[in-house]
């Protein structure tokens, strides 16, 4: 067998590794091994790539490859090891964006190498696809990162003539792409790349902070497709398979996520959520002036210490306050007192689907105390206390009762079915969706204002004394 055949065989094994890894990642039991398998497959594939004579032909190029890989690893490892679990969504956004950028660059360099030889139209089409999708993913992920890192407002950004500008940019890209296809001209491709970067920015700007995680999943899928396009330009099976796997599974995952929010993907991407929100908020009247019942930590401590069943419903406020360890302490204390405790986890609790599970796992909360929404809801009616920690929209009954509310139709955790509801909240400020929560004004509801970590620490002390 020739060297090329051997390498192709190694690539095939790596591709099988990726498929098994994705399968493993979809079940809690095999997830970690799946990821390690994918990492091993990737390492072997990368290692054998250096067996190609073309890679080792020029000492300078080979040296630069090693320098770039070393620099990349030196930046990536500490960044990935030290990132806080709460900052995970923006980290994933960043790693995804750079992947899209890399795929776009591969396509651009292939074009630069082949352009003098008048490449066939289908070759140019492969390059164009990689450049367009890779650039959109790169700049879109950068804006998503900025929104999540709060470098810019998380609210949907709207401006006059937004639709017109979008249409003009899209039309210009189509025109430039056709021009590139016909002429094989390098400056035209460069212009297409620049406008694609602009498209990524204007595509993401109108998407609200709460929807950004779904967007990242979509951009993840885009990067996969851009990588597959690079695979086409390089005639490389491994890139085609790996990129397509991620592209296809990413789109499925994106749809599952938007379903968990009770909305269609199109609605997530194009509705500019925020503009509807203000209208409904106004119609509800200024909720802030209505009376709410607040309690002291001692009152609530007694209430939960002598309850039979307490359901903890964590939300993003818990993550922001880094209170996952304190909430576990409280839960352990209650369990020791004989209270039946479990956590009800909304699929989109936190800042990204599944995020809350990661945070609670970090705090060593046992797996069997976590219940998914569908499993938790039937039990809510038998709960004495629903303890809502830093969550808001995910327990808002408006999702069930108020037709026309922006969150109408989103599945929620039925905290309202519990005998008592306790909200630990920073303020009366509404959640991401920006709408009032009727549940806050319910006679069964008690509020305890403050940073989730502080209030939970006080509750722990109160339960100990109770």
């Amino acid at each position: 067998m020739t060297l090329d055949t051997w390498i192709d065989l190694i690539y095939l094994l790596a591709a099988i590794g990726f498929i098994l890894a994705l399968k493993g990642l979809s079940s809690p039991k095999h997830a970690r091994n799946g990821n390690l398998l994918a990492a091993a497959a990737a390492a072997v594939a990368v290692g054998f790539t250096f067996a190609y004579p073309q890679v080792r032909e020029h000492a300078l190029n080979l040296g630069l490859t090693f320098v770039a890989m070393a620099v990349g690893a030196v930046i990536a490892v500490p960044a990935a090891r030290m990132v806080k679990m709460t900052a995970m969504p923006q980290m994933v956004a960043m790693f995804n964006g750079v992947g899209g950028g890399a795929a776009a660059l591969v396509s651009i360099v292939v074009f630069l190498i082949e352009a003098p030889g008048k490449p066939a139209v289908y070759r140019i089409a492969e390059v164009l696809f990689g450049v367009l999708v890779g650039c959109v993913s790169f700049s879109g992920s950068a804006i998503a990162f900025a929104k999540l890192q709060e470098l810019m407002p998380g609210r949907p950004v709207t401006y006059p003539a937004q639709q017109v500008i979008n249409a003009v940019v899209a039309a210009a890209i189509v025109a430039l792409a056709i021009g590139t296809l016909v002429t094989g001209n390098v400056p035209l491709l460069a212009a297409t790349a620049v406008l694609s970067l602009v498209l990524g920015v204007i595509f993401v700007l109108p998407i609200g902070g709460a929807d950004v995680p779904v967007l990242i999943s979509l951009l993840n899928s885009f990067t996969g497709l851009a990588v597959a396009a690079s695979g086409f330009t390089l005639d490389n099976n491994l890139l085609i398979i790996a990129g397509t796997l991620v592209g296809a599974s990413g789109i499925l995952l994106t749809r599952m996520m938007s379903k968990a929010m009770g909305r269609s993907l199109a609605n997530v991407l194009f509705s500019a959520f925020g503009s509807v929100v203000t209208a409904t908020g106004g119609a509800d009247g200024s909720g802030e002036t209505r009376p709410v019942k607040t309690g002291t930590p001692e009152d609530i401590g007694v209430l939960i210490a002598y309850a039979r069943k307490v359901v903890i419903i964590p939300g993003y406020g818990l993550a922001v306050a880094q209170a996952q360890h304190t909430v576990r302490e409280l839960a352990d204390l209650l369990i020791a007192k004989g209270v039946d405790v479990f956590y009800a986890i909304h699929p989109v609790a936190g800042r990204m689907p599944g995020h809350m599970n990661v945070l609670l796992a970090e705090a060593n909360v046992p797996y069997d105390e976590l219940k998914e929404m569908d499993e938790a809801n039937p039990e809510m009616a038998t709960a004495d206390v629903a303890l809502v920690v830093g969550a808001n929209d995910t327990v808002n009954p408006a999702a069930k009762n108020t037709v026309g509310s922006p969150i109408y139709g989103m599945p929620i955790i039925n905290a309202d079915a519990a005998e008592n509801i306790v909200f630990l909240k920073r303020s009366m400020r509404p959640g991401f969706a920006g709408i009032d929560n009727e549940l806050l004004f319910d006679p069964k509801t008690t509020l305890l204002f403050g940073d989730a970590k502080d209030t939970l620490t006080k509750l722990v002390a109160a339960v100990k004394d109770a």
Binding site: P28, Y52, A80, V246, V358
Partner: protein, 117 residues
């Protein structure tokens, strides 16, 4: 070459079906790690960037290829490390978990009581 492209299109189409099938019923608790893990998998574009660097000539191509390798390395290394960090916390069973937490915050007086569930 035209039969060559058909071969690649075949691979593409089949891979798309596999991608769709393979994550069929993923529980929502794993959405974040799955997103992050598949994010790491497309970091395999690193292979493409290494190949392209081998064929690059002249300052422009080499500079672009250099950044391509750098970005792809960030993607693949960061992606796998971050995913492993998340999944490490998912892995252990409740008993090991309790033991480990006792190790970690041994000063915590409530810890022993937490195990009596």
């Amino acid at each position: 070459m035209n039969t060559g492209i058909l071969e690649f299109v075949t691979i593409f189409v089949l891979a798309a079906f596999v991608g769709n099938e393979v994550i069929g019923r993923v529980p929502s608790i794993l959405h974040t790690p799955l997103m992050s893990g598949s994010n790491a998998i497309h970091g395999i574009v690193l292979v493409g960037t290494i190949l392209i660097m081998g064929s690059a000539h002249g300052a422009v191509q080499i500079t672009l290829a250099f950044f391509a390798v750098l970005l792809a390395t960030l993607n693949i290394v960061g992606g796998f490390v971050v995913t492993d960090r998340m999944l490490e916390m998912f892995k252990s069973k409740p008993t090991e978990r309790a033991a480990r937490s006792a190790d970690r915050d041994g000063a915590d007086p409530d810890d022993g009581s937490g195990d009596t569930q």
